[in-house]
Symmetry: C2
Subunit: 325 residues, 2 copies
């Protein structure tokens, strides 16, 4: 570790697993580890993260006070300004002061937290292909769909830290609109997320015996990932499900392009791994829905893969430092 290297601690508390690590500003990891998220209670989870972070620091011979800071991704809805995890989809995870907890436990003043969608966008901005763009729209297309707005190299959070909520932009109205878990209808998430694609797969399996047999014959699971595998194997019905998801993604992306005129759109998350299956459909339909000059916007897959979120936790620290006077 050379003189002047700035090292940051990163913690990504995810839906099934938690990752943590120590990373330099050049994006090189000094150490990292992953474990299943301990979800019993938030105190237990946070405390275990601190223990593991301290063990990592000890192993690398770094003192906590020499870190530039620690960044933490939390699941759920987080108020960035007030430091308040409003709610997360786990029992008892409510009204938690995340920064305060980690600041006190790790005895580090510079602790920053945000949701993993905002963090991924910052990661793309600092460590990914996003470095080539001053402004872009980030989309996480996974079980659900989230988004984030980067403008002038800065994250735009909005009044409630909800800017970029593309998952609930309406991409269908009337009878075409499907019910969303949020209670509304026609949300992009209800038409093109991993859970929406899985639902569609199972619905079509019930109606079409040959389609169901294709899953049984190959052993692929009847969900979004299995459907992608089947489509890649040449199954037209499976390919059509992704083409249809591409239509709705085009509608959502067009709204973001028309309203923000960004330089690019980046997609990450599990369903984005099947971007190749949706790309022709997205670009074809974009010209129907986006203003002419905006329909040619580059639609890019993140280069950070599954590391995006952990890089993002680290990027939170660099973002906060850049904003300091």
């Amino acid at each position: 570790m050379g003189n002047g290297d700035r090292i940051v601690g990163a913690i990504d508390i995810g839906g099934t697993k938690t990752a943590l690590g120590l990373v330099g500003e050049d994006g090189k990891w000094l150490a990292r580890e992953t474990f299943p998220t301990p979800f019993e209670a938030w105190e237990g989870c946070f405390s275990f993260c601190c223990e593991r972070m301290e063990a990592l620091l000890a192993r690398c011979g770094i003192r906590a006070e020499d870190l530039e800071g620690v960044g933490i991704n939390v699941p759920g809805m987080y108020d960035y300004v007030q430091d308040r995890l409003i709610r997360a989809p786990y029992a008892g995870w409510r009204d938690i002061r995340v920064r305060e907890y980690f600041r006190n436990r790790l005895r580090i003043s510079r602790v920053y937290a945000d949701n993993d969608v905002n963090s991924c966008a910052l990661a793309e901005c600092r460590f990914g292909h996003g470095r080539q763009y001053g402004s872009f729209f980030w989309m996480t297309v996974s079980t659900g769909i989230g988004g984030a707005v980067v403008e002038g190299g800065r994250l735009i959070r909005g009044r409630h830290n909800l800017a970029g909520e593309i998952g609930h932009v309406k991409t269908a109205y009337g009878t075409e609109a499907r019910a969303c878990a949020c209670g509304a209808r026609g949300c992009l998430e209800a038409h093109a997320s991993g859970s929406a694609i899985g639902k569609e797969v199972r619905m079509r399996c019930g109606r079409n015996k040959r389609f169901a047999e294709a899953f049984e014959g190959t052993g692929f699971s009847a969900d979004a990932a299995g459907c992608a595998a089947l489509a890649r194997g040449g199954n037209r019905a499976a390919a059509r499900i992704y083409e249809e998801a591409g239509l709705y993604l085009a509608r959502g992306i067009a709204a973001a392009a028309n309203l923000l005129d960004p330089e690019a759109v980046f997609l990450g998350g599990g369903v984005a791994e099947a971007l190749d299956l949706m790309f022709p459909s997205i670009t074809c339909h974009l010209s129907d829905y986006a203003v002419a000059d905006l329909a040619k916007i580059p639609i890019l897959h993140t280069g950070l893969g599954y590391d995006a979120a952990l890089f993002g936790a680290a990027a939170l620290v660099f973002e906060a430092q850049a904003a300091e006077p």
Copy 2:
């Protein structure tokens, strides 16, 4: 005029009339005048604006070089970065270097230009109620519909100076979607602009004799303004046309709210004068289309009225100065 007062020249070249004036940074007008836009050729129009500006300066005893700068609203699509009026809806208005022309003619180095929608948003930000908000979405609802994004007191222009293009966000799909002048279908502008409302009025007059007679009887014109007057007089069919426009405005505003999470939405332009007729419909439908925390966003009428655009031309100068290092 006190010492230290900064005076700015403002020119608003509009679709039917052109306004120009001299204004202090406190928003007080020293002088202003209005004349029908001379549209024969752009050189003639620009030259006449310069003559009138010079006459105004002479009348006020101000030398051009003592102005903080001159701001100009141009109609059509303007590339702010390259100083290029790409196209305007008038014959021969193409590829014009606006700043360069006025800079040379008026012999003032600080000349700034933009379209009137961006300018109106800046006016709201500097001279209007927008001063109370760090971020808001501006909408001009007039013959067409345009929008602009203010974030952190700054205008976000996007890559092609097209950010905020809410008029072409899709608010209907399939058979519900009406054809828009842009060639696409379902654009907000095709459902809720002055020309869309006028079209709807005339279509219903053709189908409903009593509705047509209501216009003839009152002498109101069969357009958006006449329909508003009729609705205010208690005509239910006329009121319903505005309620329906409110539904589509809610869809467009919801997309902007979900993607930007701004602190407020401001509406200006002729159709926005009928905001009272649409307000209950907009707020009622917003809860169907916007994320729960965002559906309560304040929807406000601009306080600047028809002066918004001329204030906006002046605001272009203050914006550019604020951005200077």
